[in-house]
């Protein structure tokens, strides 16, 4: 009953899948965060001029990720771009998370009280000094928990890239399941790996937050 045909190499195969998941998450979040910061600042500081940008990002937030993967992958083939499936995965996930990061950054910036910004300006700080020394640091603390949420959900959303042919953690476990026919065990292991990754990320985040909170 407790015997299993799961081999060591199956386990390594799963771990390799987990490594791909981590890489996808890293590159997607790097792209998503950089774009999200830029777009979020535009949305917060120039709400009227950046309204069209808001519409575009709304589309990315609203259309299911799976559809975006398939559409972008087809588009890639139509246009004839010679990009790897991995690059496509990173870009689609990156744009998707950028759309969420934008809103998080925007709300963080808008949450900095106007009165505090006035106090900064009243001391003679310029608009950009106010942004740099007051708004950014305060907004970062406000936005961080929301950003961490996006990291975790992006990490799990990477599972969808299997539809464009990348073998990440979930796809790897499916392959193993097909071979050894023990879905319960394999999916438990895969779930555990996802859980451990999330736990590490959220613990690191919590530690950073406590360090900030000691100051408040």
């Amino acid at each position: 009953m407790l015997s299993t045909s799961l081999t060591m190499s199956d386990l390594l195969f799963l771990l390799h899948g987990a490594w791909v998941t981590l890489q996808l998450t890293f590159w997607a979040m790097l792209l998503g965060t950089i774009a999200g910061v830029v777009f979020g600042l535009l949305r917060a500081l120039m709400p009227n001029a950046s309204r069209p940008l808001g519409w575009v990002l709304d589309a990315f937030r609203s259309v299911p990720l799976l559809i975006q993967f398939v559409l972008f992958n087809s588009l890639k083939s139509i246009v004839g771009l010679d990009w790897s499936a991995f690059a496509v995965g990173c870009i689609v996930l990156g744009v998707y998370s950028a759309a969420f990061c934008t809103e998080i950054v925007r709300s963080g910036v808008l949450a900095v009280p106007m009165t505090v910004r006035r106090a900064a300006r009243s001391l003679g700080l310029t608009y950009s000094q106010d942004l740099r020394y007051i708004v950014f640091p305060m907004a970062t603390r406000i936005a961080f928990p929301g950003w961490l949420n996006v990291v975790l959900s992006t990490m799990k959303d990477t599972a969808l890239v299997m539809w464009i042919g990348i073998i990440e953690l979930l796809r790897a476990s499916q392959i193993v399941v097909t071979r050894i026919q023990e879905p319960l065990l394999v999916l438990c292991i895969a779930g555990l790996i996802y859980y451990v990754i999330s736990l590490v990320v959220s613990r690191l985040g919590a530690r950073l937050e406590t360090r900030w909170q000691e100051n408040d």
Binding site: T115, R121, S122, G124, D216
Partner: protein
């Protein structure tokens, strides 16, 4: 010298200042009293350009505050302002709060800025709190930090916008003592305040604001002890 001439200020359709004239001489302490909505806080914001005006003029040492060519950041260096909500920068320590503007605006070195900041913090009685974050201070202490932060720029003028209104009653005294100390030092100040007794003690002149205009102005003795206009009398009766 602060010269305010026929200033009009509206928020949308609502005109809150309707042609105010007021001059504050060097070394003078002028208190502005009046009901809420009378335009007194808004006027302070207009003096250092945090709010725009629709017409009229405000000159500080001869410089037109609302002129397009005026370097407003430079002008603000000599006009300190303390707000009702003390507006500490929560991510910086007390010392860093006070050091920020001397370093970034005046370009002082870290050591110079720290010396100025420590002096000012000692001056307002926060010498033992320089390493802590503002969130751990009481309202009165945060407000005194805000005063030190403004003073660290060595301003020629200090504006106080209801600096004690958001404080617990037992904390009001320590902030008023700090303001009184500045008055004794000869600082030119405009105080928007609800503390009538304090205004009477510390001011050279008191202005009673009503409906966006200076309704009555004079020495504390004239305006507070012997008000002439019925509205001033009614207001003083309502707050005492």
């Amino acid at each position: 010298m602060i010269e305010i001439n026929k200033v009009h200020k509206s928020f949308g359709d609502l005109e809150v200042i309707k042609g105010v004239d007021l001059t504050v001489d060097k070394g003078e302490v002028v208190s502005i009293i009046g009901g809420s909505g009378s335009g007194k806080s808004t006027l302070l914001m207009c003096i250092n350009g945090l709010e725009k005006i629709q017409s009229g003029s405000i000159r500080v040492d001869g410089t037109e505050v609302h002129d397009k060519g005026t370097d407003i950041n430079k002008l603000r260096q000599k006009i300190g302002i303390v707000f009702q909500q003390w507006n500490a920068f929560p991510h910086l320590t007390v010392l860093e709060n006070v050091m920020l503007a001397p370093r970034k605006v005046l370009g002082k070195s870290r050591a110079e800025a720290e010396e100025v900041a420590v002096n000012q913090l000692n001056h307002v009685g926060l010498g033992d709190k320089i390493k802590v974050f503002p969130g751990t201070l009481s309202g009165g202490q945060q407000q005194r930090m805000a005063i030190a932060r403004a003073l660290a720029m060595s301003p020629d003028y200090m504006l106080f916008d209801e600096a004690t209104s958001a404080l617990d009653p037992q904390l009001v005294g320590e902030v008023l003592d700090t303001v009184r100390m500045l008055a004794d030092d000869g600082m030119t100040m405009v105080l928007v305040t609800h503390e009538i007794h304090f205004a009477r003690d510390v001011s050279d002149r008191v202005a009673f604001f009503r409906n966006g205009l200076v309704h009555e102005i004079g020495t504390p003795d004239q305006v507070i002890n012997n008000p002439q206009k019925p509205e001033t009398i009614a207001f003083l009766k309502s707050v005492s």
